[in-house]
Symmetry: C2
Subunit: 241 residues, 2 copies
């Protein structure tokens, strides 16, 4: 249910912000969040079950690279305390955005095509696959290489045959015709499986699109996706056996 595809293992993404070689990761994010909630580094450390001295030195190390993140003051009412600076909040917000997007990306089902590079034009590559030639963004592959073409299910649009194509369609898009072989209706999004020459494509559509298209198994449909949402990844095993 929580699985993304037939890959078996669960795939995840972890966000990292890097500045001057210092990495701001999830552990740092929870630390800053705890400081914000507790109002002090000491309180945050004890809340997290971490060493206060370590937490403090970690914050100092981060600040050396990212600038002032925590406004710390000692003495005064309550003995002092610490609050996030505007920069600290901004950094934390940015981390949260990145982490949210990466987590969402890692969850997206994918369809994978095996192919060979036919042509490379800058970042764009043309790949020969079982369903014809497709275009995608290249990643360090050269003409003739055996590659895998990765298409995110959220980038694919499904439409019924005869339907007019949108005006911003460019030659950099991929189009194929196929047959619906499965519909997994969800609350807000549905996963549709479309077979193209026997190759199953996963397509993510919104509930509204699902209602509009009213897809059923056996329906003939066309699918379309942007080349920029297609990644060409070199095969792990190219050379000698």
């Amino acid at each position: 249910m929580d699985e993304t595809d037939g890959g078996g293992a669960a795939g995840r993404g972890r966000a990292v912000l890097i500045e001057d070689g210092v990495e701001f990761d999830g552990r740092d994010a929870t630390l800053l969040r705890a400081v914000h909630e507790a109002g002090s580094v000491a309180g945050a450390a004890s809340e997290l079950g971490r060493s206060r001295a370590r937490a403090l030195s970690r914050i100092e190390a981060l600040e050396e690279a990212f600038g002032t993140l925590v406004d710390r003051r000692r003495g005064g009412s309550g003995g002092g305390g610490s609050r996030l600076t505007d920069d600290g909040r901004a950094l934390l917000d940015r981390y949260d955005r990145l982490q949210a997007v990466l987590a969402a990306t890692a969850r997206v089902p994918e369809t994978v095509l095996a192919g060979t590079v036919k042509e490379v034009d800058g970042e764009l590559a043309v790949i020969d696959t079982a369903v014809g030639t497709v275009r995608g963004l290249n990643g360090e592959t050269a003409v003739g290489d055996a590659v895998q073409v990765r298409i995110g299910a959220d980038a694919v649009t499904i439409y019924e045959r005869g339907e007019r194509v949108d005006p911003d369609a460019t030659s950099a898009r991929n189009r194929l015709r196929g047959e619906v072989v499965g519909v997994d209706a969800g609350e807000t999004v549905s996963t549709v499986r479309v077979a193209v020459d026997g190759v199953p494509f996963r397509v993510l559509i919104t509930a509204e699109s699902a209602e509009r298209l009213d897809l059923g198994i056996g329906d003939e449909v066309a699918i379309r996706w942007k080349a920029t949402a297609t990644r060409v990844v070199g095969h792990a095993t190219e050379s000698d056996p």
Copy 2:
């Protein structure tokens, strides 16, 4: 040049495959790749400057969770050797795909809107922002929360006013009108900055679309993006100061 946006620090994503609590990360991927290239675990370890015994025990630990990954045999011509199994190659391929997609995602410029949650319907949320109400995928936020709305520049489509909208448009899309305030032409993709009520949106378009639209600063355009490509992320600082 390599920067993604005004966030300052470089954002990255690291892929991880998880099974039974065991994490397959980039270090493991390079190990498997080296084993494939060297034809032996010993050769791979020395190539990477890592301990052979550690590499071996790491592979065993991985195999306990992911299944047989490396076909190891001792004795024989050359003293033996190791090769990746089909499962091993498949796992490595999957890791490479995920890493490629996450890296690409982390590079995408973003536009961020501050807003408050107006309505939540399942996974979809309606947010009040400076440019009006927008829809996006919710992530653990509730009505009334102060949130940040994150829109990936690659998900935004730009089109000239009066142009017909595509047929798969649903009410789950967001539309706005604005003015072009900057064009950063690239080789295969260009980054366009569109101001909507003074709020700058970053839009990524292909070179072909750039040519077709022939955008110049001051042009009045409309932008559109799918709600499913919009993430609603809770603000770090909601509660007391």
